[in-house]
């Protein structure tokens, strides 16, 4: 029963900065919000393997091929422990996977953009992983214990990914004229989508207030986005790439960088499924799932037979 007393008690724990653990009492709505957020995070890690995987086979040096493979492998790992963390809320991974392959569950829209050149891989490392780190550093202090711990681990690896992307982008930005052009073009295409990763403006974000009250999130979308912009302006300057926003100006009063209006029409359009790669991403994930069914069935059947043999033997 969710009587007021219990809710107050729960809120008091949150306000005292205590972590909520799987066996603790929690409001049903808290559980549902976490399942939504955490599984969306997991799905994003998995779909995120596709745009980057697109360049593993064509990576321009053995070192870069290894770096990219390791990165994509890390993402599969993140997906795996985020699913496990979500399962602590009493839902099966298979159900979660079905929700995004055949239902309404979402993943981050950023992965519906195409990786057209190798510089996109570097820009993703710098901007997309950079944005993810800002978000996940906050989530590492989230009130739900398993989610908080998963994010601590993820952040460590993401920081490494970001560093690798940034370094290679810097190399390209100071490389041959073709490399410089490729690097700038990638930044031009990934800048705005990376700002969109923080979600709509606070005024258009229906879940924010509740999530902040429960300390699932500790900052609003706009606060996180501003933090990201401030950092990226400095980092862009350091490697001589231009951020494609003529309105970027330092605001002496606030101490932050003001930036232009995000193309929200494009954002909502991609969310609705009309990004260049939405259909391909879903097709690829569905076909991996469906083509793998016989393998998963075989593993289950083999385990069953093996157990039966062991029982007979004893």
């Amino acid at each position: 029963m969710e009587n007021q007393e219990k809710l107050d008690e729960f809120q008091a724990r949150i306000d005292a900065g205590e972590k909520i653990e799987p066996k603790d009492w929690m409001p049903e709505r808290y559980r549902q919000q976490l399942i939504r957020m955490m599984s969306q995070h997991a799905h994003s890690e998995i779909v995120g393997m596709l745009p980057e995987g697109n360049w593993i086979e064509r990576a321009p040096s053995l070192k870069r091929k290894l770096v990219l493979l390791a990165k994509v492998q890390d993402e599969a790992g993140h997906g795996l422990y985020l699913y496990s963390a979500t399962e602590t809320l009493g839902i099966d991974r298979s159900e979660l996977v079905d929700q995004y392959l055949y239902g309404n569950a979402k993943y981050s829209s950023i992965f519906n953009y195409p990786t057209m050149t190798y510089a996109d891989i570097c820009a993703i490392g710098w901007l997309v992983d950079g944005a993810a780190i800002v978000n996940q550093t906050m989530l590492a202090r989230s009130s739900y214990g398993p989610y908080s711990r998963a994010n601590v681990r993820i952040c460590k690896e993401e920081s490494f990914h970001k560093k690798q992307g940034y370094e290679m982008l810097a190399k390209m930005a100071s490389g041959t004229p073709e490399q410089q052009k490729m690097a700038q073009d990638a930044v031009n295409r990934w800048w705005w989508p990376s700002l969109m990763m923080f979600g709509p403006h606070d005024s258009d974000s229906p879940n924010s207030a509740e999530l902040i009250k429960w300390q699932v999130k500790l900052k609003t979308n706009d606060e996180l986005r501003q933090h990201f912009v401030d950092r990226m302006v400095m980092e862009a300057e350091a490697i001589d790439v231009t951020l494609p926003d003529p309105d970027l100006t330092y605001n002496e009063e606030t101490g932050h960088w003001d930036f232009g209006e995000i193309p929200w029409d494009e954002f909502w359009n991609v969310v609705k499924g009309n990004g260049i790669m939405n259909r391909d991403r879903m097709k690829a994930r569905r076909s991996a799932h469906e083509n793998g069914e016989w393998v998963r069935e075989a593993a289950v059947e083999y385990a069953r037979k093996k157990k039966l043999r062991e029982e007979k033997a004893s």
Binding site: S287, A298, Y302
Partner: protein
């Protein structure tokens, strides 16, 4: 010991030996990496990416050493990105398309089992730099063998469908297995110098491991006496390799003067 045209030097033989080892690993690693994001379950996405990473890592170390042995100022990327099909000496087994998951597993098992016996003996090579590499890679090869062997058992003794699928994969792959044991003047040189292994010494052990595993997996061991492919160590390949190289090398070759490391 001598070829029709010229005498093979020890340096040339060692270079060729290292490149053969490296090419196998690069090409198989590259092929396996196609699974990234498309595996039958998340755990296998991780495992196959991990195996690819190991294989390409082994290839990179071998190419680096090959560049030292060659001593012409090349780096590891030279061998991967600036050679053509006829210069690649990887096994045809490694270049075949990835097929279904069972095909990938069957191939990995055959290859990893061979690598295991080969590297167990290469540990004794009279070259510390080389054996340092061999010892490090052997640990990972053991994991690849265990992982692929377990999946051969699961698929072979799983459902009727998985049994039939992996049986078909082994049947298809069989004619590419004889090349694992191919030896020529390069190997003779290396054996004489204490740097290489005589693969005929462990052929029976390898066959026994393969036969025992297939039998345990309730699979039929295909006929060892059937027609067997040959030529890969001399740069003769299926048409699949050229397409793989085109994809792998295009960016690097389009901008050869750029720094890509």
């Amino acid at each position: 010991m001598s070829t029709a045209t010229k005498e093979l030097t020890k340096q040339e033989a060692f270079l060729t030996y290292l490149l053969r080892l490296a090419d196998d690993r690069l090409i198989l690693g590259q092929r396996n990496s196609e699974w990234c994001g498309h595996g039958p379950q998340l755990e296998e996405d991780l495992a196959i990416a991990n195996i690819s990473l190991d294989l390409i890592g082994h290839a990179t170390a071998l190419y680096e050493y090959a560049a030292e042995v060659e001593d012409e100022g090349h780096d590891e990327d030279h061998f991967a990105y600036f050679r053509d099909d006829r210069e690649f000496t990887n096994l045809q087994l490694c270049e075949l398309p990835k097929g279904d998951f069972g095909f990938t597993i069957a191939r990995q098992f055959l290859f990893s089992a061979f690598s295991y016996f080969q590297y167990e003996r290469l540990k004794e090579a009279q070259d510390e730099q080389f054996t340092g590499m061999v010892n490090k890679h052997l640990k990972e090869i053991k994991y690849h063998l265990r992982h692929s062997r377990e999946w051969v058992l699961r698929l072979g003794d799983g459902t009727e469908e998985s049994h039939n699928r992996i049986q078909e994969s082994f049947d298809e792959l069989w004619m590419y297995t004889d090349e694992l044991f191919y030896m020529d003047e390069v190997d003779e040189w290396m054996i004489k110098e204490g740097l290489g292994v005589d693969s005929s010494e462990f052929k029976d052990e390898w066959k026994k491991l393969v036969e025992d595993t297939l039998t345990e997996a309730t699979l039929t061991v295909p006929d060892w006496d059937q027609f067997m492919m040959s030529g890969s160590r001399k740069g003769i390949h299926t048409e699949h390799l050229g397409h793989m190289l085109a994809q792998m090398q295009f960016l690097r070759r389009s901008y050869p003067d750029a720094e890509w490391k």
